[in-house]
Every structure is written in structure tokens, then in C-alpha cells.
Symmetry: C2
Amino acid sequence: MIKHISHIGIAVKDLDAGIALYEKLGLKLESIEEVPSQKVKVAFFPCGDTRIELLAPTAKDSPVAKYIETKGEGVQHIAFAVDDLPAELQKAESSEIRLIDKEPRPGAHGADIAFLHPKSTLGVLIEFCKEKH
Amino acid sequence: MIKHISHIGIAVKDLDAGIALYEKLGLKLESIEEVPSQKVKVAFFPCGDTRIELLAPTAKDSPVAKYIETKGEGVQHIAFAVDDLPAELQKAESSEIRLIDKEPRPGAHGADIAFLHPKSTLGVLIEFCKEKH
């Protein structure tokens, strides 16, 4: 079951510029975390029961760098918080939604995550996320 | 002040296909509304304290049709719910954020809305939204 939106992932070239913008808009920076497996540095801004996550690449071959190269800066993915990640993946697959990750893998904030393929989800990169807390 | 994320606007070519997808993912369709001023039909899916809003063009010159033509289907805007829309617009402008709408205008669900220019917001089309309820 989807409980709420865990976060909205926004690709930015420069993390400091992104942080300055969302602070201007009135959000409060919660923390910054590096996710080496994804070659990104992430800044978290809580907003209601969800978060804005700014994603800045730390290497040229980071998936986020490739995203910015082809699509430009902007919303890169939406993450839905689910209660049972393997069950949701199985349900999606049985509904003929293509999975990028057939098995959960570790994400930021100690969560387990898996991505669905945007070719099956009308162009939106969707993440299912089992939050730690 | 930003209170929470009011909604995430997702551009789709075909509203029925969009509705079928988000129902498969486990969300529940709340309502469908046509917004003639924007030449869109909108499907609302509540999710925690926010909503997924699927936006399908009803005419070729709809802003959403133009968005899909240039960028493809996907996340088109993020709407932040604010308590005082004119005050937030003034604050954004004084922070040198360009506004698309200098004055609030009517949106879906009886809300007052205004858009910021994505050239000042790192590629993300941001809406400020004063919700009715």
C-alpha cells in the first residue's frame, strides 16, 4: 500500500544554488547526505509529510548527471512510501509494469528503494521506498 | 509560509491511460475536473497530505499539450500550498524570482494559484496555491 509521497527528487547542477533557492522559497534544509552508489549529494527539505530532495551529481557518469545532460535540471523522480516493498514490486510486475530494480536496494536515509521503468509509467520515474522510521 | 505540497502536476496524453496506471499503483481516483481556462482535464489522486494531479490537454494549444510536445509526458509542475498567496508572491519577487503570474488567478478545486518562472527556479515549474478548504 502507498502511504504517502516519501519525496520528490529534483536534479540540480549545483547543490548550493539549489539549497539557496529552496531556502528563499521558505523551506528549511534538514540535512545533506552523499550516496556514493548513486554518485550524488542530496539535500533534504521536509515539506508536510513529504520532502524535496535536491540531487546533485558528484561525477560525470552519475545517473543524475546523465539526466541533466539529456533533460536539463528539474523533477527527476517521485518516490512513494510503501509499507511492504517486495509485495509492491510483485504487484507492479503482475500489472505488467516494468521494473528497473527487481529487488530492493539501499537508498538515502537508510531506506530500501526500487525504481519502476518510466517507459511503463507514462514518462515519470517512480520509486517505491520503504522508509526506515 | 509553505504548509505542504498541494499537488504534483503530471502531464499525460490520455487521461484514461493515466488513471488506469495510478489505480494500478494503488492510488484511488478522487474526482475529475475540467479547467477550461487552462484547456485541461484533471484527475485527482489524494496521497498523504498531497495529491497527484494528472493533466490531459483538451486542445492542441493547451499549455499542457505544448509541454508534452517539447518535453514528453512527465512531471509538469509542483504546487506548494501557502497561507497567504499575495505575500508569498511579493516575497518571491523581492528575492529576484521571476513570476509568471503577478496576481493570483483561479485554479482547479476553487483554489487561487500563481506560477513562478522555471528560468528562476532551476527548471522546475513551481505553483503557489491557496487552497479553498
